[in-house]
Amino acid sequence: MRSFTYERASLAQEAAAKAQETPGAKFIAGGTNLLDLMKLEIETPQHLIDVNGLKFDKIEKTEDGGLRIGALVRNTALAADMRVRRDYGVLSRALLAGASGQLRNKATTAGNLLQRTRCPYFYDTNQPCNKRTPGSGCAAIAGYSRQLGVIGVSEACIATNPSDMAVAMRALDAEVETIDAAGRTRKIPIADFHRLPGDRPDLETTLSSGELITAVTLPPPLRGTHIYKKVRDRASYAFALVSVAAVLQRDGTGRLAVGGVAPKPWRIEKAEAELRGGAKPFSARLLADAKPTNENAFKVTLVERTVAAVMHEARQK
């Protein structure tokens, strides 16, 4: 690990200003992703701003009847909140399907949204990787790509976003609240939060330099059957090959976002018009532009089958 200086932030705007003006500064929250990458010198911040002292650890009702989740609310606390369990079951389920008990106790809402890809070549500093070292090439495209993306990918990068939580938040139309160095706040719809790689896979979100996440808001509860189904190589403590976050209605309509297949939670609202026709037409529309490799082409079929399983489960409830 490279050496760095460290400070504890106590005010949000100050933290954002400090992050913007200090070269090589980064926020640290739970540390479960950042420290992992710092040990491998994939992340090499020169200054860490510890945001754990900021008062963003509450889940509150919003005026319109939704929920405002503080950026520092731990994944365990969010999954266990009775309002989330009752009214946003898909989110509780997605969180509980991720990582381990120990990690969820540390991982924060903001940190989870910003966790970086698990592409094996991104982690292997001996390999070319456009995300880690822009312009160096992508070892994954002709390499071991079984776990990687099939849609939204580019010729520069085929990595997936590994977050389970974000897939549920996409189905729920969450918004990310931020504050910048000048004290300006804004709300970013989750659909616009993560960027597609294009020719700049190193740029992953639409956050500006120093911009600090303060909360994630959920709209009022969405009635219907909430399901999160994660398909992985072992039954627990593994990243998704494919995951589906769904809120389905009795009449066969609903919302459905897919994880494990793209650089961001993958949802196309227009494809949801096909849901009444079943998993096949829906998945065909959702993945119409898919560009899988030989090794991960199975994911296209797996999405359809997982969607079918989710629809079946919803009908049983």
């Binding site: 690990m1 490279r2 050496s3 760095f4 200086t5 460290y6 504890r8 090589g24 640290i28 739970g30 540390g31 479960t32 420290l35 992992d36 040990k39 010198e41 020169q46 200054h47 860490l48 510890d50 754990n52 365990t76 999954a79 266990a80 009775m82 369990r85 009752r86 079951g89 509780s92 389920r93 509980l96 399907a97 990582a99 381990s100 008990g101 120990q102 990690l103 106790n105 540390k106 039954a235 627990s236 403590y237």
Partner: protein, 213 residues
């Protein structure tokens, strides 16, 4: 007070308020070359105070020191183990403010004023914690390397169930979770055992939990 960091203290000759201050002249083990980010702040280290197993400690640490390395290399509590150093195995599990975490993926300087419990603080050879006793009775290990992490994790799991925290396998999200074998296995999935002592570990936890699996 029997001082766990005596050698470092006398070497540096620093003592603060009855607790030990260890000036760290060397880098945390296995962490590559130092390339000071900027100032003296890096070289001087960063002061942090916390409580481990009921005793106060005050350390002057290289900011890179993980909580695990602080416990093992500086406070010399070597019960917590380093398996992967990347959050993947659970051997480093300790309980911080009542909550289990991977001590390898957190910086020591992030734990100002925290209360930390390691395997050494759960029980002693003379007075075992019920979970430790159950692991012995059921042979919940072979080589023993993962065991401190397994036990700390298991103790915290029972508290998590008591607190009503659901899991991936809980059938109903809104009713209180149960003490079943499937629940335990899911909740313990962050603790890997290369010797594969899982079935005995599950029996030990079931006994300590007072459940009939």
């Amino acid at each position: 007070m029997a001082n766990p960091v005596e050698s470092e203290v006398s070497r540096r000759g620093v003592l603060v308020g009855g607790t030990a201050t260890a000036m760290i002249g060397v880098l945390p083990s296995g962490q590559g070359q130092a390339q000071p980010a900027s100032s003296d702040a890096v070289r001087q280290g960063f002061e942090v105070s916390f409580e481990v197993n009921g005793k106060p400690y005050s350390l002057q640490l290289d900011t890179r020191t993980t909580l695990l390395d602080a416990l093992r290399e500086h406070i010399h509590l070597t019960g917590s183990k380093k398996g992967c150093d990347h959050g993947q195995c659970g051997a480093c599990t300790v309980i911080v403010n009542g909550v289990r975490i991977n001590s390898c993926l957190t910086l020591a300087v992030m734990h100002q004023d925290d209360r930390i419990t390691t395997i050494e603080g759960l029980g002693t050879p003379e007075q075992l914690h019920p979970m430790q006793a159950a692991f012995i009775k059921h042979d919940g290990y072979q080589c023993g390397y993962c065991t401190p992490g397994q036990i700390c994790s298991a103790v915290a799991v029972l508290d998590e169930i008591k607190a009503g925290i659901p899991s991936h396998v809980s059938a109903d999200l809104t009713s209180p979770p149960e003490l079943t074998n499937v629940e335990m296995r899911e909740r313990m999935s962050g603790n890997i055992c290369r010797c594969g002592a899982y079935s005995n570990i599950a029996e030990a936890i079931a006994e300590a939990a007072g459940s009939k699996t």
